[in-house]
């Protein structure tokens, strides 16, 4: 945790020059949010006490509290109670930046996306199991291996998307393939948002089972595994969406 007891640096003066008389909560919100995104305020940094910060910004504590509440909703500030408490900066990492699009989706929309994905991925898996050749299976295994080796979020997202698009291509269906492509370009970033290293292992296990079922020409099993895989990812997204309100 980085402490900044006295914000007397140039950066602090720039940030906290008083807002003009009409300064409103959203102006404060914008200014602080920008400072956090630009890295002027560091992750974990404790903001000055409310009365002092309000004084530095030239707004009332009521206005400041409004702004802090907005920043909390945006996930950029975390307020802890009790001894050692206060408002702390939560700088958006790779995942943090991606939380914004998630906020724009309702739980109903997320559930609906999950339903759509399950329909496409489930049918693609079933048909792929009926129609795959040995070379298709090798291609799928290559893509599954690439996901296992991907370190960063963008790498995982790309490898995961390609694997699912390849499964739809293995189903010999241009329409299902286009649906998978559209779905992944729409929600690909979101899918990997709540996932960490442990989930990569879980996803990789699902993918291996799915490819095994495709290789064994077991359509019903392939479909069931694909649907279960999508349902688990949807459940994690829904949890994350709900948790945004608890911060």
């Amino acid at each position: 945790m980085v402490a900044s007891p006295a914000l007397t640096t140039v950066r602090a003066r720039t940030l906290f020059t008083p807002l003009d008389a009409g300064g409103r909560a959203d102006a404060v919100t914008r200014r602080l949010a920008q400072a956090i995104r630009l890295g002027l305020l560091l992750d974990g940094e404790r903001l000055p006490a409310e009365s002092r910060l309000a004084g530095q910004l030239g707004v009332s504590t009521v206005t400041l509290r409004e702004a802090l509440a907005a920043l909390r909703t945006m996930g950029l500030v975390e307020t802890r109670r009790g001894r050692g408490g206060g408002s702390f900066v939560r700088a958006p990492g790779e995942a943090g930046r991606l939380e914004r699009p998630l906020r724009l989706l309702s739980l109903h929309q997320l559930r609906d996306i999950g339903d759509h994905r399950a329909a496409i991925a489930g049918t693609a898996a079933r048909l792929a199991a009926e129609r795959a050749l040995a070379t298709d299976v090798s291609t799928l295994r290559e893509h599954a291996e690439r996901l296992r080796g991907a370190a960063a979020l963008t790498g995982r997202r790309r490898a995961d998307a390609r694997l699912h698009i390849e499964i739809a291509a293995t189903a010999q269906s241009p329409r299902l393939t286009r649906e998978e492509m559209d779905l992944w370009s729409e929600i690909g970033d979101l899918v990997w948002l709540p996932l960490d290293g442990a989930d990569v292992t879980a996803a990789a296990r699902d993918h291996d089972l799915l490819i095994d079922a495709i290789e064994a020409h077991a359509p019903a099993q392939a479909r069931e595994i694909a649907e279960r895989h999508v349902a688990a990812e949807t459940a994690r997204l829904l949890d994350l969406r709900l948790s945004l309100h608890r911060r």
Partner: protein, 270 residues
């Protein structure tokens, strides 16, 4: 399993071979022009701008095979050009003509690694023309597609491939009337790729994209291992590999046996 013996069937295969062969000849012309460019440049490595002289030729290919070839162009081997590690100069025909835009940066989320595709890999490996597919081409045509490609070599160095995309629906349109007209003894009549993937069929119970599980010459349960260019046709070549003047690596099947095979039932010859 029996191959359809009817001469009508052979005529059908000859006709589709001739049409695809004409595309192959056009594509070979583009490949030759690329090789000539490299030869003329001598020791100076080619640059992207040099490829502009190929474009009228590619446009001619698309015009000549309008409605049949959906895209055409050249795809460069990694490091074949001085100013791009990887390069695709590929054009699609629609109302007009447009250039295919793909992400060739290996670090990007949308990176397209064309070196793993059958239509690139097989000519690079065998030095022979190839017909890949049918496969779902989600990069260019976004349709069920064949790609014919030829290797381009200059001064003993593999420069890349020249190729063209052919829509599977056009091939079906060409062969389906003929399949349906084969005699009753040859129904259902099914055209399959060298690896057993159905290209066209005269019966709704055997559909394009399905795999006929055949007893191959090597005892495999399939015609071959690959629906694109790979596999083993038992004759030393590969199902997807063609010679410039040789036949397509496709098989015409006819009679009740083909229906039995499609359902994984034991097929009785004759």
């Amino acid at each position: 399993m029996t191959a359809a013996p009817a001469s009508a069937g052979e005529d059908l295969l000859a006709a589709v071979t001739a049409t695809i062969g004409r595309v192959l000849v056009s594509v070979t012309g583009v490949g030759g022009a690329l090789a000539a460019l490299a030869a003329a440049a001598g020791r100076r490595p080619l640059r992207r701008a040099d490829l502009a002289t190929l474009r009228p030729l590619v446009a001619q290919v698309l015009a000549r095979h309008r409605g049949f070839a959906a895209g055409a162009g050249v795809v460069l081997a990694p490091d074949a050009l001085a100013d791009a590690p990887r390069w695709i100069d590929w054009w699609w025909a629609d109302e007009g003509i447009g250039q295919l835009q793909v992400d060739l940066d290996p670090g990007s989320a949308e990176f397209y690694d064309y070196t793993t595709t059958e239509w690139y890999r097989e000519p690079a490996r065998t030095g022979l023309p190839c017909i890949a597919g049918p496969y779902v081409d989600y990069i260019c045509t976004r349709e069920y597609t064949f790609t014919v490609s030829v290797p381009v070599v200059a001064g003993g160095r593999f420069l890349g491939v020249a190729g063209a995309d052919i829509l599977a629906s056009e091939v079906e349109r060409m062969v389906l009337p003929g399949l349906s007209l084969l005699g009753p003894a040859h129904q259902p009549a099914v055209l399959v790729s060298g690896s057993g993937r159905v290209i066209a069929s005269s019966s709704a119970s055997i559909l394009p994209g399905e795999v006929l599980r055949l007893a191959g010459p090597g005892g495999d349960d399939r015609c071959g291992g690959d629906d694109r260019c790979g596999g083993d046709d038992g004759g030393g070549g590969r199902p997807g590999t063609m010679t410039a003047s040789g036949p397509l690596p496709w098989v015409l099947l006819g009679g009740p046996a083909s229906a039995a095979v499609a359902r994984d039932e034991p097929a009785t010859a004759g």
